[in-house]
Symmetry: C2
């Protein structure tokens, strides 16, 4: 990728001060669902899979895909980021933002990501597959995600031929993605199910029907702050809409379950719940040093507290944003320099006190 391809106007430091549309905390069921995502795995016909592609081949792939997205993504302005030349801090920033995967961040050779304004769409180039096409929405909105992802897939396919087999469907580097190449995932906030330990049953139920339950940052990541990603694992033998319907059904069930347990807690343990939310608020607005893990847990309580009407002058969008803006790379970009863990913990605490300063307990 030539350096003039890099979008000069897209300043990564700006990202640390703004937030993606998917964090707005609106959309259906947003008391429990943070965001919905549909991702398609695609490969360009006529090129070997990434593991067998030399640097020059990978470079051609980047060029071909970027050309297809050069002027816009579904009518929105597009930013092209050359991931190969990013500092590790910048690629971590994009990861925290859910715009690129750990695999793309830590990979090597020519690779890139195209991001639409508002961060709803992103296309990773030369991740595990040549293309990973992603659409991210706030709230429980898988149908919208799918429609846009399908349209974006068509936009690219208009100029880039995809590897497709009449029987198998779309061909992918890993056999688990063959067929539709689709991964559907929903990020849910389940504090009540965690506190009552029913979250174990969610894991078991999901496993039984081949859904994965993971943490905020995908494969291998621990669930932090009561956030869980629920996604399909099968991609073959069913249509995209059937796979989406399956995830929708399970997630709807989990939403109802979490809501019921919240109501029960509110009925039987209101003062305890109020105490938990109040203490979380007290610590977040007082601490002089705080880890990322503790922040996530306390923000989780605060987010539930807002939904239960226990906190004033604070909306869910602000808390969603804090989850992302208190991540290590975001803090360091805001600060304008790399920070050791201890200094990050101090910077995080300062940031939280400033942001939450005008809020109060209801």
């Amino acid at each position: 990728m030539s350096s003039d391809r890099q979008d000069k106007d897209f300043c990564l430091a700006e990202l640390a001060r703004t937030s993606g549309e998917w964090l707005r905390g609106d959309g259906p069921e947003s008391d429990i669902v943070i965001s919905s995502r549909v991702r398609l795995a695609r490969n360009v016909a006529g090129f070997p899979f990434i593991t067998r592609a030399a640097a020059d081949v990978r470079f051609q792939i980047v060029q071909q895909v970027q050309a297809a997205l050069k002027s816009e993504i579904l009518g929105r302005p597009v930013h092209h980021v050359n991931v190969e030349t990013l500092t590790s801090l910048d690629s971590q920033l994009l990861m925290e933002r859910q715009l690129i995967s750990r695999e793309l961040a830590r990979g090597d050779g020519p690779r890139a990501v195209a991001i639409s304004e508002g961060e709803r769409h992103s296309v990773m180039i030369n991740e595990e597959d040549h293309l990973r096409i992603q659409v991210l929405h706030s709230g429980f909105a898988l149908d919208d995600c799918w429609q846009e992802c399908d349209a974006l897939d068509n936009q690219i396919e208009a100029t880039v031929p995809f590897a497709f087999h009449p029987q198998l469907g779309y061909l992918t580097a890993c056999p688990t993605n063959v067929g539709t190449g689709i991964r559907v995932s929903v990020m849910v906030h389940l504090p009540a199910l965690r506190v009552t330990r029913e979250i174990q049953k969610v894991h078991q139920a999901a496993q039984k029907i081949n859904l994965a339950v993971r943490g905020l940052y995908g494969e291998g990541s621990q669930a932090m702050g009561d956030f869980y990603q629920i996604s399909n694992q099968m991609t073959l033998g069913k249509s995209e809409t059937d796979l989406i319907a399956e995830v929708q059904e399970v997630v709807s069930h989990i939403i109802g379950w979490e809501r019921k347990v919240r109501d029960l807690l509110l009925r039987d343990n209101k003062s305890q719940l109020h105490d938990q939310v109040a203490r979380a608020f007290g610590t977040l607005t007082s601490a002089r040093s705080i880890s990322s893990e503790e922040t996530m847990l306390l923000l989780s309580s605060l987010r539930m507290g807002i939904r239960l009407g226990l906190v004033s002058n604070l909306d869910v969008a602000a808390v969603n944003e804090l989850f992302i803006h208190t991540q290590p790379a975001h803090l360091q970009k805001l600060h304008g320099a790399e920070l050791e863990t201890a200094d990050r913990n101090v910077a995080r605490a300062n940031f939280l006190r400033k942001r939450l300063g005008s809020s109060s307990l209801g």
Copy 2:
């Protein structure tokens, strides 16, 4: 004791709203020393010790001692409280106030306490001995305590003959008090020595020279919130002033030690210390339910924070008062009714939020 002896004007409910002079947080070394106390054990000549005294004898003892203190204690107005007829809540209140011992509260038969205005002096009647004469000062002021205790002892002895043996000295129910009958104790606040685990060495050093290290509420009580009572155990073979000098020397050493460790912590762990104080403040001003133990620990951090200049609009006297006013009986008297543990925890949290509402972190 006839009911007309009971001081009609001394309302115990009032006690829950006020505080004793010894909580003012002033006096020498008051960054570390809460209060100093001298207590003398005395028995009235011609009467058997308490364990062998029938109710009518005990009644006579109460009458004789109250007569000696009828109008004043060292020139101050005096309040006579009939402990025999107190509710358990009221005797707990006096215990929390350090005005009577657990033994007097839980004893049986005629027994009383005489308290001077300001709570600096108190004379328990029919505790383990016929009289326990106590003087309590704010800060490190054992000499003042001793002088007043000696004067009060003389005031009573002017009309009440004490059991005294030319070789043994003052006779007491328990042989460990024979001789001077003196118990000298200093309540110290040692958060830095606790956090660095050097408090173990304080225990060992004190034991070696026969000093006891106990919690806030005397014998058998756990140290809570980093408060320790250091007192002599021997009363025989040395003069009162020698015994006091011994305790003074050891406590002076401990004060210097605590201060040094605080300075070191402030030099090497300032941000950690600041964080601890800030979190304590955050929890105390936010929680909706809080136990007595947690309150003591957090107030301990806050008290140190004030001394280190990390908290504004709050003085040590207010924190000292909170230690006492958040105790169970005080809370219940303020509330005007008995409360179960869970309700007490809610009442305690409400009380703390109200009291600390106008303070802020520096």
